[in-house]
C-alpha cells in the first residue's frame, strides 16, 4: 500500500493511501470532533461535525469519508468550522432533552464532552423537548429516546457487526425514531440477540445498561476493534479495559 504525504493544520503527516482524513489525523494526535463516525462501523457522514476545509475545494468535506491525497492541505480547526460545530451541538441540545445531571453517562458522554470542548455553555434556541418514550422492556438494557441524537451507530453496529438488524430508523426528519423490529417493545424483539453492542457504541445515555444510576454507566468499545480487525491481525485475545 502506497503512502501519501499531506498537511493537516500546518503539520506535515503521512498516511496510507486508503486512509481517511479522519483516521490519518487521529493517528497523528489531531482529534477531529465527531458523533456518528466510529472506527469499525460503516460511515453515515450524518453528524457533519468532522467537516474540514480542504484547499482548492469549494465545499466542506466530511473527514470520516474523504480519503487522503498527496499534497492535500487540510484545516480542521478554523473559526468558521468551530462556529458550525458549536451550532450543531446547540441544535442537538435543543432538539431533545439532554439534561446531564440526571443521566447515567454523565461524565462519560460524547455529546457532553464535545459541548465542553467547544465551549457550548448555553443554548440560544428554543428547546423542543418532545415527550418521547423510554423503553425498559428488555431484561438487561433500556433505550431513552429523549437522549438519542439519531447518529445511527446502534443501527449500523447491529446490522454490520452483529448481523441481527434489530434496529432501524422509522419516520423522517424531526420525527425520526430508532425502532426495534416492527416497533414492538425491545424486550419483545425476536431478532435481538441481547449482545449489547448497540449499548456500548451509543455516544450518549440513550442506550444504557439497566441497574446503573446517574453517572455510573461507562461504555466500552474495545470489542469493536477486536471483532473487526482481530481475524485479519490474528489477535485472538481481546485487549479489554477492566470494568
Amino acid at each position: 500500500m502506497s503512502v501519501r504525504t499531506l498537511e493537516v493544520d500546518g503539520r506535515t503527516i503521512t498516511a496510507m493511501a486508503d486512509q481517511t482524513i479522519f483516521s490519518a489525523a487521529w493517528d497523528n494526535g489531531i482529534r477531529i470532533p465527531r458523533l456518528c463516525h466510529l472506527g469499525g462501523l460503516p460511515d453515515a457522514a450524518a453528524c457533519r461535525l468532522c467537516l474540514v476545509e480542504i484547499e482548492g475545494q469549494k465545499r466542506l468535506q466530511s473527514a470520516c469519508t474523504t480519503k487522503v491525497a498527496e499534497d492535500m492541505v487540510v484545516r480542521t480547526d478554523t473559526p468558521a468550522l468551530q462556529a458550525h460545530r458549536k451550532l450543531i451541538i446547540e441544535l442537538l441540545f435543543a432538539e431533545r432533552n439532554h439534561v446531564c445531571s440526571v443521566c447515567v453517562v454523565n461524565g462519560a458522554c460524547e455529546l457532553q464532552t464535545l459541548a465542553a470542548e467547544l465551549g457550548v455553555d448555553h443554548i440560544r434556541m428554543k428547546p423542543q423537548y418532545p415527550k418521547l418514550p423510554v423503553d425498559v422492556s428488555h431484561h438487561r438494557f433500556g433505550i431513552d429516546h429523549n437522549r438519542c441524537i439519531l447518529c445511527t451507530r446502534c443501527v449500523r453496529v447491529c446490522d454490520s457487526v452483529e448481523g441481527a438488524h434489530t434496529w432501524d430508523v422509522a419516520g423522517r426528519g424531526r420525527n425520526s425514531l430508532i425502532i426495534s423490529d416492527l416497533g414492538e417493545p425491545w424486550g419483545e424483539s425476536a431478532s435481538c440477540t441481547s449482545c449489547g453492542k448497540c449499548v456500548q457504541v451509543c455516544p450518549t445515555g440513550a442506550l444504557f445498561s439497566k441497574g446503573k444510576t446517574v453517572a455510573e454507566m461507562r461504555k466500552d468499545r474495545s470489542f469493536l476493534q477486536y471483532i473487526v480487525t482481530a481475524r485479519e491481525k490474528r489477535l485472538w485475545i481481546a485487549e479489554r479495559k477492566p470494568r
Partner: protein, 544 residues
C-alpha cells in the same frame, strides 16, 4: 415495428384525421379535470352522437393548453378556436361552432397568452390525445428514435445532444450532453436511464402536465438516451400523488411495447430497451438523485454522499443517467432538427424553451412555454396578464423551496440559469409563483421553511434540526414575537445549512429566507421592530 410500419401508421392516422370535419380536443390533464373537464367531454361526445355527426366530428382528450385558470378548455380544430370555461351545457354551441353564445369565452392563437409563447415541448397540446399512440405518431412521433437506432451511432447521438447545449431542466442546469457522455464512456455492461418525474416543488406542475399530456415524448427521449449511453433498462420515478400521470405513463408504456417501440430489437436493430415505472410515496427529498436511487432500490429515500456521482455509480452501483421529464421531452426534437437548430433558440448559454408553471396572484395562471431568456416582465405582464386589479406586483418566487424571489426592480431580468443565479435565486424546475402587495414576504419564507422541515429526511443534523429552529424563528416573527437576536441566529443557521448539510435539500433550504432578507429586509424589520405586517396577511394580520 419497422420503419415502414411507422410510416404507414402515421399516414393512416393523418388520413383519418383529414377526413374529419372537426376535432374537438378537451383538455384532459389535472387542472381542467378538477374544474369539471370530464363532464364537459362526456357532454360533447353525447352531443356529437345526438347530432349523428360521429363520422365527421371527433371528440378526444388532449394535453395542457396552458390557460388553466380559465379551464375547462376545449379546442376546436375548425377555425383553430379555443373555448374557455366550458360547461356541459355549452356542448351544443361548441359542436355547432356557435360563437355568439360562447362570446367572451373564445380564445384565439393571436391572443397575447398564446402569441407570446413558443410551444415546442407542448407542441402536441391541443392536437394529440395522450391516451392514443397513433396521435403521437401522426405528429412525427418516434421518427427520432427511428433515426437514432437506424442512422446514428451512439457517439453521434451524444455529440448532437452536446451540440444542442441542452441544460438539465431539473433545476441545477447541468449540461445534459456532458452527463450523457460520462455514462456513455463508462465501460460497464449494465447501465440505467432514470427519468426523474418526482416533481415535488409546491406550485410546480410542468412535468406532471407533460406526462399527462404527451407521455410518449418522454418515453421516446428516454429510449434515445438508452441507445446513446448503452443502457437497456429505464425507470420513470413518478410521484405517488399524481395518479393521472401514473395512469398515462402505464398506458403509454404498454402501447409502445405492443407496437415494438420499446422492448427487444427496436426497429429491427440490436437495441433493446425496457421502461418500468416506479412510484414514489410522498417524499420531496426523493427528487434528489441519490435519494431517488435509494427509493427505486426499495430503501428509505435518504441521500448518500456524492461522489461517486450516479454516472459512475448509481442504481445498484451501476452507471446511471438521471434526467428529468422536461429534459427527456426535449430530446426527440433535438435529434429531429439537429443540435445546431436547438442551440439557436433562446439564450446562447442556455438554449431551448422552458415551461413555467405560473400561479399565485396573476390573472392568467397555467403553463407557459417561452424561449429561455425571455424577460420576467414578458411572462407575467404580456402573457400572464398582470396581477389582479387593485394590487401591485411585489415579487415572483422561482425554484420552489430551494429558490428565491425576484423583486419588481428585476422584472426585466432574462429568465435563464445564469441571470437568475446572479440575482440570488435559481431557475429551478419552473415553478413561478407571483406575489402582490397583499403577500407577506416573511410569511412566504416561513411557508417554504416549514415545507423543508417537513420534508427533511432527518439524516444529517443541520437540516433535520436546523430547519426546525429556522421555522421556529420565522413563526415567531410572523406572530409578532420576533426578537432582534433572531436576525443573527437566522443568518448563522442559514450559513450552517448552506455549508454543512449533506445534500442539496438542506443546502438550499435557507435560500427563500436569504433571498427575502436581501430584497425585503424592511418587511422583516417591520415585523420585529414595529410588530406589524405591511402586507397585513401573515398570522399577525393587519393590526399595528
Amino acid at each position: 415495428m419497422t420503419a415502414d410500419g411507422l410510416r404507414q401508421s402515421r399516414e393512416a392516422e393523418l388520413d383519418r384525421q383529414s377526413r374529419l370535419k372537426n376535432r374537438i380536443a378537451c383538455c384532459s390533464v389535472a387542472g381542467c379535470l378538477a374544474g369539471g373537464g370530464d363532464a364537459v367531454r362526456a357532454a360533447l361526445a353525447e352531443e356529437v352522437k345526438a347530432q349523428g355527426a360521429s363520422a365527421e366530428i371527433e371528440v378526444c382528450g388532449t394535453g395542457c393548453m396552458g390557460l388553466c385558470s380559465r379551464g375547462p378548455l376545449v379546442r376546436s380544430s375548425a377555425g383553430e378556436i379555443t373555448y374557455a370555461e366550458v360547461k356541459p351545457g355549452d356542448a351544443a354551441a361548441v359542436v355547432r361552432s356557435d360563437l355568439d353564445s360562447l362570446n367572451g369565452r373564445i380564445l384565439r392563437q393571436s391572443d397575447p397568452f398564446f402569441a407570446g409563447q413558443r410551444r415546442l415541448i407542448l407542441a402536441n397540446s391541443g392536437k394529440v390525445d395522450p391516451e392514443k399512440i397513433a396521435g403521437y405518431i401522426a405528429q412525427g412521433g418516434y421518427q427520432s428514435l427511428l433515426r437514432a437506432t437506424s442512422e446514428m451511432t451512439p457517439e453521434e447521438i451524444v455529440a448532437e445532444v452536446k451540440k444542442s447545449k441542452l441544460r438539465g431542466r431539473g433545476g441545477a442546469g447541468y449540461p445534459a450532453g456532458l452527463k450523457w457522455e460520462l455514462v456513455a464512456r463508462h465501460p460497464s455492461a449494465t447501465k440505467y436511464v432514470i427519468c426523474n418525474a418526482d416533481e415535488g416543488d409546491p406550485g410546480a406542475f410542468m412535468n406532471r402536465s407533460v406526462l399527462e399530456g404527451d407521455p410518449h415524448r418522454v418515453l421516446e427521449g428516454m429510449a434515445i438516451a438508452g441507445r446513446a449511453v448503452g443502457a437497456q433498462q429505464g425507470y420513470i420515478y413518478a410521484r405517488g400523488e399524481s395518479p393521472l400521470a401514473i395512469e398515462r405513463i402505464r398506458t403509454a408504456i404498454d402501447q409502445a411495447q405492443r407496437e415494438g417501440l420499446l422492448g427487444g430489437r427496436v426497429f429491427d436493430s440490436d437495441f433493446h430497451f425496457r421502461i418500468d415505472l416506479r412510484i414514489g410515496a410522498g417524499a420531496y427529498v426523493c427528487g434528489e438523485e441519490t435519494a431517488l436511487i435509494a427509493s427505486i432500490e426499495g430503501k428509505r429515500g435518504q441521500p448518500v454522499l456524492r461522489p461517486p456521482y450516479p454516472p459512475e455509480s448509481g442504481l445498484w452501483g451501476h452507471p446511471t443517467l438521471i434526467n428529468n421529464v422536461e429534459t427527456f421531452a426535449n430530446i426527440p426534437q433535438i435529434i429531429e432538427n439537429g443540435g445546431d437548430w436547438f442551440a439557436g433558440i433562446g439564450a446562447p448559454a442556455s438554449p431551448g424553451t422552458k415551461i413555467f408553471a405560473v400561479a399565485g396572484r396573476i390573472r392568467n395562471s397555467g403553463l407557459v412555454e417561452v424561449p429561455i431568456g425571455t424577460s420576467l416582465r414578458t411572462i407575467l405582464f404580456e402573457i400572464g396578464g398582470g396581477v389582479p386589479e387593485g394590487y401591485e406586483f411585489k415579487a415572483a418566487q422561482t425554484g420552489g423551496p430551494a429558490g428565491g424571489c425576484i423583486p419588481a426592480q428585476y422584472l426585466d431580468v432574462p429568465m435563464d440559469y445564469d441571470s437568475l443565479t446572479g440575482i440570488g435565486t435559481m431557475m429551478g424546475s419552473g415553478g413561478l409563483i407571483v406575489m402582490d402587495t397583499s403577500s407577506c414576504m416573511v410569511d412566504v419564507a416561513r411557508f417554504f421553511m416549514e415545507f423543508c422541515m417537513d420534508e427533511s429526511c432527518g439524516k444529517c443534523i443541520p437540516c433535520r434540526a436546523g430547519t426546525v429552529q429556522m421555522n421556529e424563528i420565522l413563526g415567531r416573527m410572523t406572530s409578532g414575537e420576533g426578537k432582534e437576536a433572531d436576525f443573527a441566529m437566522l443568518e448563522a443557521l442559514s450559513g450552517l445549512l448552506v455549508e454543512a448539510s449533506l445534500c442539496g435539500l438542506g443546502r438550499a433550504a435557507p435560500n427563500p429566507v436569504l433571498s427575502t432578507l436581501r430584497h425585503f429586509r424592511s418587511e422583516y424589520d417591520a415585523h420585529v421592530r414595529e410588530r406589524r405586517c405591511p402586507a397585513g396577511s401573515c398570522r399577525m394580520g393587519a393590526s399595528a
